[in-house]
């Protein structure tokens, strides 16, 4: 379980499908039915062409480490030094996350290393999508 002091997201009508997905162990993205753009963060229309015909789909959960910092002054609910990372998903969009399952050091956190999603439960409603190095 995540530290209860960690800032907790509050879903809105436009993002509910995303947080329903993480609770079910799925990373859900949206794709425009008109221009095929895959986008994040969630909204009920396409940011590329403004079409309101969009579909939610289960993403692969795979991506690569795009950039990060290692924070040395922990935020509430965090301890020690930890990476605040941006992951570029295989489907194209980028999202902020944390990297688990490896040391939080520049040596271990190599840009473009392959990552896969994992879910950390905060409470009954919220699970956060985190990423870990792909094994092997």
């Amino acid at each position: 379980m995540a530290d209860p002091k960690r800032p907790r997201p509050m879903p809105t009508p436009e993002t509910k499908h995303f947080w329903d997905g993480t609770r079910a162990g799925e990373l859900r993205l949206q794709r425009c039915d008109a221009c095929a753009k895959v986008y994040f963060p969630p909204r009920p229309f396409c940011p590329a062409c403004a079409s309101q015909s969009v579909s939610v789909f289960k993403a692969s959960g795979r991506g690569r480490l795009f950039s990060y910092v290692i924070n040395h002054r922990p935020a509430p609910g965090f301890t020690g030094e930890y990476a605040i990372a941006v992951v570029e998903l295989d489907e194209g969009p980028r999202m902020m996350s944390n990297i688990t399952g490896c040391p939080q050091t520049p040596e271990a956190l190599v840009l473009d290393m392959p990552l896969e999603v994992t879910f950390e439960t905060m409470d009954d409603e919220i699970s956060l999508p985190l990423f870990r190095p792909v094994q092997g």
Partner: protein, 380 residues
Amino acid sequence: MKPGSIAIVGAAETTRLGSIPDMSNIQLHADSALNALRDCGLTPKDIDGVACAGESPVNMAHYLGITPTWVDGTAVGGCSFMIHVRHAAAAISAGLCKTVLITHGEAGKSRIGINRPPQPPSTLIGQFELPYGTFGPPTMFTIPVLRYMKERGLTHEQLAMVAVIQREWAARNPRAAFRDPITVDDVLNSRMIAYPFRLLQCCLVTDGGGALILTSADRAQDFPTRPVYILGTGESVETPMISQMEDFTSSRAFRVAGPAAFKAAGIAHKDVDHLMIYDAFAHLPIYGLEDLGFVGRGEAAQFIWERNTSPGGKLPMNTNGGGLSYTHTGMYGMFALQESVRQMRGTAPAQVAGAKISVCHGVGGMFAASGTIIFSNQRP
């Protein structure tokens, strides 16, 4: 707006900078406003346009006793004041008002009278960034840099050199907070804040403010100060979320605002004598130099390393010492504008001899917004 048709006739900072525990946020606005009015011999009754960020124009008009016919409360972070200058110039040109006061004040250090609610957990930032432990600008503004380093070959030493050279400028400025010389090793040995950023690559946190007074250039001769003409302006925004910045090696907002200002001014880069690029963190001058077209992609760090922007260099930049060494209240853009005005008036502590054109480029939020103003002391 015709280049040179609007001028800055009044400009001043708060009397003090740094730690001002006896003034609230709104009083810092007022202190700089009263100093700017005194600078050009006006009173609040002479002002009919008000623009500010950090306080609403309602607060400032009431506090200062102004009855405006035009207000602008654009608040998009530290470059809000560049955008206010742009909007004010357009408003004066359109006849919406005649004399505009732009104020900044921020009790960034003492935190007296600041009303800044936390980011709600239902916003996009609250849902998709805060849960991952972001903790203020040092953990967000800095995130793109490792990508820049990998793609453009920027080294830790080059990133450190930005702070070293700005300290050289600060050493020439009696009002700068930090004036003692530093070396690349000093920077790289300073306390780690958010890898790869160390303490000396992050801005100060201070109390202070600044204010500007604009009017039409045709009236500028009526004032006791040397007019500083506005040649060109630009503005844009990109995203509130650093994770959603389109290109981690370049700011889209910079690439829109900067060229728009150059095009409006009708000048080329070789015409620029003096440059301010908002430096909340050491990478910003690097992004700014490239996105504004002063150098090519990936060339800015070497350009700085070779001392082109240092005292005696061909493109003097951040000559007050910048947000890294002069002062940084939280929304530093006003201080960059003040230094451009001083340089154009010929009154800067580290005056660039004979400077005629100054480019002042601001950032707001974490690469969220941008504003660029090009000044001259010559009316075209």
